[in-house]
């Protein structure tokens, strides 16, 4: 920067600051605009094969500089047309916040349902030889177990009566000489979570009086299926709306390419590589994606804030201190990273489809 090239016209431009104010440095010129005798000798390497041989590290530096410049330039272009950019960001944000919002909802539903584990039941089918009194004793004993909330004993007669009532095979049973049903203890576990309940089941199974212990998983399974359905719905929605983001970004970039067609032609004519031409558009896509992701994150958090009060009062009506959980740091980062990637990918698709068609002719 300290080099002071002495210029043939007598003008010196020692540093950048002066480049900004060339007019303060009056340049004396001969009357002929195209001076017949510019000091060509000082630039005698003008001709010949003096293509600047840029070495590798300098090239890497230039490459990085162009990346930084294009990142800033493309962001500046987006901000220069704030309304149009905001529209694109909003479309991306809405498309993204739908599956992400559903995901948050499902997370909360899972949290709520894990509080319902109390309604699970374990049925202990006792040996047929176990007498009523022994069965009742065992029931009393189990009641003391800290893992068990409640027990209920059903004698063989009671199970038969229940079976007759609920199965619809009642009359068929009349033809049997003997009651085929064992006595049963219904256990409501005090522990929650499928794993600890399974552990309780295997402990109960080991009791000598117990022929078979069965965890009534029907509702758990049903809930699990619903959750899985929900997750798949989210995956499908996420896929579709991710595709929508790709198309939105792709189309926006296509228009940007169309708008800068002349510029692309010119830089291609003077030796720009495809990567060079592509770069500003890819950064534009990245900014669209990132901006859309941030906006989606805001949308979801504002909605959660808005829903929090009614959810709290609903929960307190059920004597629960449940409150909505939002996006974790990991989820938030995942949202931003994937939206940025989607923006980049959409731009890439548009660029590879349309940039090739812009050729000087």
């Amino acid at each position: 920067m300290n080099k002071r090239p002495i210029r043939p016209s007598g003008a010196t431009f020692p540093n950048r600051s002066q480049r900004e104010t060339p007019h303060k440095n009056p340049i004396k010129k001969p009357p002929n605009r195209l001076r017949s005798n510019p000091d060509l000798r000082s630039k005698s390497n003008l001709g010949g094969a003096s293509i600047s041989k840029v070495n590798k590290s300098a090239r890497l530096k230039a490459w990085r500089r162009h990346h930084v410049n294009m990142a800033i330039d493309s962001l500046a272009r987006l901000l220069a047309a704030p309304f149009g950019s905001l529209m694109t960001w909003a479309v991306i944000a809405i498309a993204l916040s739908l599956p992400v919002g559903l995901y948050v909802f499902l997370n909360n539903a899972q949290l709520v349902s894990s509080n319902w584990d109390g309604s699970a039941q374990i049925s202990l089918y006792l040996n047929e030889q176990v007498q009523d009194s022994a069965g009742r004793n065992l029931t009393q004993k189990l009641q003391m177990d800290s893992a068990i909330a409640e027990t209920r004993y059903l004698s063989r007669e009671q199970t038969l009566a229940e079976f007759k009532e609920f199965s619809g095979f009642g009359e068929a049973l009349d033809y049997l000489d003997d009651n085929p049903l064992p006595p049963v203890i219904i256990v409501r576990p005090a522990v929650s979570g499928i794993e600890s309940q399974q552990a309780l089941v295997s402990r109960l199974q080991a009791l000598p009086e117990v022929e078979e212990a069965q965890l009534d998983l029907a509702w758990v399974k049903r809930l699990y299926h619903i959750m899985e359905l929900g997750q798949r719905t989210i995956t499908a929605l996420g896929f579709l709306l991710g595709l929508a983001v790709l198309l939105v970004v792709g189309n926006t970039i296509r228009l940007a390419i169309e708008n800068r067609r002349q510029e692309i032609v010119v830089v291609k004519l003077i030796g720009a590589t495809n990567a060079f031409v592509r770069r500003p558009f890819l950064y534009t896509g990245i900014w669209y994606g990132l901006g859309g992701g941030i906006l989606a994150w805001l949308l979801i958090n504002v909605s959660l804030y808005w829903l929090d009060a009614p959810v709290r009062s609903l929960a307190s009506a059920y004597a629960s201190d449940f409150s909505l959980i939002g996006l974790s740091l990991r989820d938030s980062l995942l949202l931003l990273v994937s939206s940025t990637l989607l923006g980049w990918l959409g731009a890439w698709i548009a660029v590879s489809r349309h940039l090739g068609k812009v050729e000087p002719s």
């Binding site: 840029v54 003077i270 720009a272």
Partner: protein, 222 residues
């Protein structure tokens, strides 16, 4: 430097733009390409820049055979060729400075070197004081000179010009031509397509005339 061997160019429309064109422009030579409009001048220049590919025959630029030059190498070929376009091909939303700097930015030159080179080029065409203006604020002749500055800023070994004096008055035209001679004097191979026969004849340089796609005359003008 620029070699054509029996080059034919036929467009998809069936139009035969060039027929059996052969010539050799040596390094450091300067020549004019004349002919009526539609005679194939632009096609010939496009072949040199690899904007078009010869249908038959061979085009060699600086020892590179353009017939089998992969697309990804084309940008590097174009960096060796400074081109002055008839319609200037400037970016009208950028300053004169940025327009001239473009080839250097594409090459990835250091910003401080870019400033030095751009000013050297602008100084040579006499537009140093207008670096901050946009091309739209300049006259046609000045825009042409911005185009020339951009063509030479990265010191290419070859300089092409397509009707560089197309719509300039004789005084400006001869100034522009003098400028090309100065570049030629330092070793740049220069090829200028022009139909300004008056001007060409006064220059006393090699002239090639195209007529209906064929090279009909090749010699030094008086």
């Amino acid at each position: 430097m620029i070699q054509f061997h029996n080059v034919f160019k036929r467009y998809e429309s069936g139009h035969e733009a060039l027929q059996n064109v052969s010539f050799n422009l040596k390094e450091g030579e300067m020549a004019f390409l004349t002919g009526h409009s539609g005679a194939g001048k632009s096609t010939l220049l496009k072949l040199i820049m690899r904007m078009e590919v010869a249908t038959r025959g061979q085009v060699n630029i600086d020892g590179i055979n353009l017939n089998n030059l992969a697309g990804r190498h084309v940008p590097y070929l174009r960096r060796k060729i400074g081109v002055v376009f008839q319609d200037h091909q400037l970016l009208y939303d950028r300053s004169v400075y940025d327009n001239v700097a473009l080839p250097l930015v594409i090459e990835g030159m250091e910003p401080q070197d870019i400033g030095r080179r751009v000013r050297a080029a602008l100084d040579k065409v006499g537009l140093l004081s207008k670096e901050k203006l946009t091309p739209i604020m300049l006259s046609g002749g000045e825009q042409q000179r911005v185009g020339i500055a951009r063509a030479v800023v990265n010191k290419p070994p070859i300089l092409l010009a397509d009707e560089p004096t197309g719509n300039l008055d004789p005084q400006l035209s001869s100034e522009i031509m003098q400028l090309f001679r100065q570049f030629n004097a330092v070793g740049v191979t220069v090829l200028i397509a022009s139909h300004d026969l008056d001007l060409i004849s006064r220059m006393g340089l090699r002239m090639m005339e195209l007529s209906q796609g064929g090279l009909t005359r090749s010699g030094v003008t008086a």
